[in-house]
Amino acid sequence: MSDRKLRVMVAKPGLDGHDRGARVLARCFRDAGYEVIYTGCHQTPEQIVSAVIQEDVDLLGLSCLSGAHRYLYPAVTKLMKDKGIDDVTVIGGGIIPEQDFQLMYDAGLKAIFVPGTTLDSIITWINTNVKPRN
């Protein structure tokens, strides 16, 4: 008689204080029935990965609007891999040009959401692709 609930972390790596998008998403995830951990801005990849472990989340959503996603997103996924975390889905959002998409997928991100994406489509993607782990 277990009662699994999806746990999601929204994190903002790097020197980027624009967190309105991240907060809107956190709110929208709450309304979708997930438990959402929000870490706040200015996080190092080390802080984020450590929080992922301590909070035992199923999904990590990274947000970066400063253009540093090319460095920061792979830094997070590499660190996760180094620590043997292979059961957390990572997705990313922000100002990400199309030519960077492949780089992001190669780094292990499963989806990229850019400006103009509807909240509904993100929730639909998560509900289809991420299940709370057993």
């Binding site: 951990i37 929000y38 035992d56």
Partner: protein, 323 residues
């Protein structure tokens, strides 16, 4: 057994996974907690409660810092509310504590209330055990933002801090029953704001009027002031004083042999909850899955029968083993 060994060895991932499984009520987690239980009882559990926005998370962050400087390891369980409509939750206490994220001596875990009403999450008691076995010297439990009545924290803590801020009401508030009665230490936070001296005076008057027997072993809750968290020198000094006072309180519990009564209170609650969980939940489950519940709800709605008679009947059938 494997998980127990890992947690005893300090494995954070195993511990966070177990806490998750306890929250989600995965049956295997219950087996593990049975193995852990005999190993618990070493940590000093500190409860921090107060109204939303009073500064609980910021004080927790400051206390983590102080206890780390004293060479102690710290576990934090931070509770935030679950939406009664969607079941979702935003767990934001961590934001104020992220500077400790990389310190292996600190483990911060957010929990959602999931419908529990006493200011905590149902799994908090078990999560404290996990932190304890993991080897954390100090376990800080931060409640949801509380009002007047959410006092469950006393059942789980050795030392309770009630955090207050100026401007929350008149002097009648200070003589009401509830949350003000559970403090071992009062913290008047944001004390650089107008009204803090008045608040301290009211608390003092409230304590002056309390019968001396309410002060267990002669411990009169001190009133500690904390000013602006953005002024590090003064803030750190205030936090250092509070952390010393917390240790003093723990020593007091030990010296005056009161710690036993606090452990007893926890044991009573744990036993009550465990009995309720093993009796009530399977009964409700059975009534639901067999469809009997729906019929009973219908009858109560139409006033054909009252809920009290139904409950007595179910209890009787349960005790006779013919549910």
């Amino acid at each position: 057994m494997e998980t127990t060994k890992k947690i005893k060895g300090g494995d954070v991932r195993a511990a966070s996974r177990l806490i998750r499984n306890l929250e989600d009520r995965v049956p295997e987690a219950k087996t593990t907690i049975k193995h852990l239980f005999p190993l618990t009882g070493k940590a000093h559990v500190i409860g921090i409660t107060g109204s939303p926005g009073a500064g609980k998370s910021t004080l927790t962050d400051g206390l983590i810092d102080m206890f780390r400087k004293k060479g102690k390891t710290v576990g934090v369980l931070a509770v935030d509310p679950t939406s009664p409509f969607t079941g979702g939750a935003i767990l934001g206490d961590r934001i104020r504590m992220q500077r400790h994220a990389e310190d292996p001596g600190v483990f911060v875990r957010s929990l959602a209330t999931r419908g529990a009403l006493g200011g905590l999450a149902k799994a908090v008691g078990d999560a404290i055990h996990v932190m304890d076995v993991l080897g954390k010297d100090i376990v800080i439990v931060e409640t949801v933002g509380t009002g007047q009545q959410e006092v469950d924290i006393i059942n789980h803590s050795h030392t309770v801090l009630v955090v207050l801020v100026p401007g929350m009401g008149d002097e009648i508030q200070a003589i009401k029953a509830g949350i003000l009665e559970i403090a071992d230490i009062f913290v008047v936070n944001k004390a650089d704001r107008e009204g803090s001296s008045k608040l301290s005076r009211e608390l003092m008057a409230m304590l002056d009027m309390a019968p001396p027997s309410t002060f267990q072993g002669g411990w009169r809750p001190p009133i500690m002031k904390v000013e602006n968290a953005f002024e590090p020198v003064g803030f750190n000094k205030a936090l250092e004083d509070i952390s010393n006072k917390i240790e003093e309180h723990h020593q007091h519990l030990v010296d005056k042999d009161i710690i036993g009564s606090r452990m007893r209170r926890k044991a009573v609650v744990e036993l009550n909850e465990a009995i309720r969980a093993s009796i009530l939940e399977p009964v409700l489950q059975k009534l639901l899955s067999s469809g009997q519940m729906e019929g009973l709800i219908e009858k109560v709605m139409k006033k054909e029968i009252d809920p009290y008679t139904v409950a007595e009947d179910i209890a009787k059938r349960y005790l006779e083993g013919c549910l």
